[in-house]
């Protein structure tokens, strides 16, 4: 919590091997680079893209969705909470466009936006791309 001074960052390790994963946005098959951005922008892009990709992979469910399903039995009340505390379903289409505009990239009708997941393995002291998979793909239908 914001007002609770507990900091357990990097005390536990969820990583169990030397493989790693990252996500990236492609516009018309061209990778949108984030590492040349100023630090905070790069950090925000990396984290939010990762959380967004995981949200898509989990069929639009996240920690909050599951918490509300578990804790609130009254369906009317639960829907009201879900509407305020989870992203609307249209976010799947709107957020990638927002991400591009955040990087000052304008999209045009017919542009293809893809989000990819990349996995790397540590081989001979270097990270080597192991595989990649498409998370979501969409075509821009209006500017």
């Amino acid at each position: 919590m914001l007002f609770f001074p507990i900091n357990n960052m990097y005390s536990d390790n969820r990583v169990t091997d030397f493989s790693t994963t990252t996500y990236a946005v492609k516009l018309n098959s061209k990778l949108v680079q984030i590492t040349n951005d100023p630090y905070l922008k790069k950090d925000f892009s990396e984290n939010s893209l990762q959380i967004f990709s995981k949200w898509i992979k989990a069929d639009g469910k996240d920690f909050m969705t599951e918490l509300l399903e578990r804790k609130i039995i009254d369906s009317v009340k639960r829907i009201s909470y879900v509407n305020k505390l989870t992203p609307p379903k249209t976010t799947i289409q709107t957020w990638p466009v927002w991400f591009l505009s955040f990087h000052n990239i304008k999209t045009r009708v017919g542009d293809n936006i893809e989000i990819w997941q990349y996995r790397f393995d540590l081989i001979d002291n270097h990270f080597i791309l192991k595989d990649s998979s498409l998370i979501t793909k969409q075509t821009v239908i209006h500017e």
Partner: protein, 274 residues
């Protein structure tokens, strides 16, 4: 506002230095396109276990704000103008109150859209003493925020002991495996990515650095006993964060002004008056 004798007791120059550092941090956020209007029409949010953020979003205020671009522009400029106002008049508590409210809403928006809790919340805590008018109240609140800061770092060391990670040789090598992946994907190699690879493949050296970091964090416990070494503690934590940025790509922007209050703790605290 206050009579002359009490006015002279305020360490105004030191207040201004801290607020100027805070202003620089806010400018860095703005320069990095992280300001209220940059979140216009961003509908993706993700919450972790922080009920405070849930309550703010349950009001619907941030969601409504993010659909009003002109209000967001006003939000942007209000933060900058209030920052300048508090530097010019650090004893005007209303400027600080308004600024704190705006920065708190911004923190909630940033954290919700980032999708995970941001530890760089120092830019809120540093303003707490400024929202009080009387010198004594400012001093008491400064004491509170100082202990909060110390506890934050001591707790970090405590958890590393408790989890046993400090005794696990591969811990840091594993923990930093994910830190530079986008750089490897984009082939943005630098001395930092090379050093990252070095630490991943040299577990003992990496773990020595990790133990050093835990000692740095734990050294904050000295601050619970005396204020005499606070400036050393501030330097220790700044070095710790600088190293974190180099090794882990985690920068402390948003936390620096708060840490720098330790340089002036004897001026800011009530004990200096006694």
């Amino acid at each position: 506002m206050n009579n002359i004798s009490s006015f002279e007791n305020y360490p105004i120059r030191q207040y201004r230095i801290i607020l100027a550092i805070l202003f620089l941090e806010v400018l860095i956020y703005f320069f990095c396109d992280l300001h209220p209007s940059s979140f216009y029409k961003n509908t993706f949010i993700g919450f972790e276990q922080d009920p405070l953020l849930w309550f703010v979003y349950f009001t619907g205020l941030p969601q409504r704000l993010l659909n009003q671009i002109y209000i967001l522009y006003v939000f942007d400029y209000s933060i900058l103008l209030l920052m300048i106002a508090v530097i010019i008049k650090p004893l005007n508590n209303w400027y600080a109150v308004l600024l704190l409210i705006l920065l708190f809403i911004f923190y909630c928006i940033l954290t919700a859209h980032l999708g995970h809790r941001n530890y760089q919340s120092g830019y809120l805590f540093v303003l707490f003493p400024f929202i009080f008018r009387k010198l004594k109240n400012k001093q008491i609140v400064f004491e509170f925020t100082r202990y909060f800061l110390l506890f934050f770092y001591v707790s970090a060391a405590f958890f590393k002991f408790k989890s046993g990670s400090i005794f696990h040789t591969e811990h840091l090598s594993l923990a930093i495996t994910n830190q530079f992946t986008p750089y490897f994907l984009e082939l943005s190699n630098s001395v930092r990515t090379s050093f990252n690879l070095f630490l991943i493949t040299h577990h003992n050296f990496a773990q020595t650095l990790y133990v050093g970091a835990v000692i740095f964090e734990f050294s904050m416990i000295i601050g619970f006993l005396t204020k005499r070494y606070d400036h050393y503690l501030a330097v220790t934590i700044l070095i710790f964060h600088l190293t974190n940025w180099f090794i882990m790509d985690i920068a402390p922007v948003g936390q620096i002004a708060f840490i720098c209050t330790l340089f002036f703790s004897r001026k800011f605290s009530w004990s200096s008056q006694s």
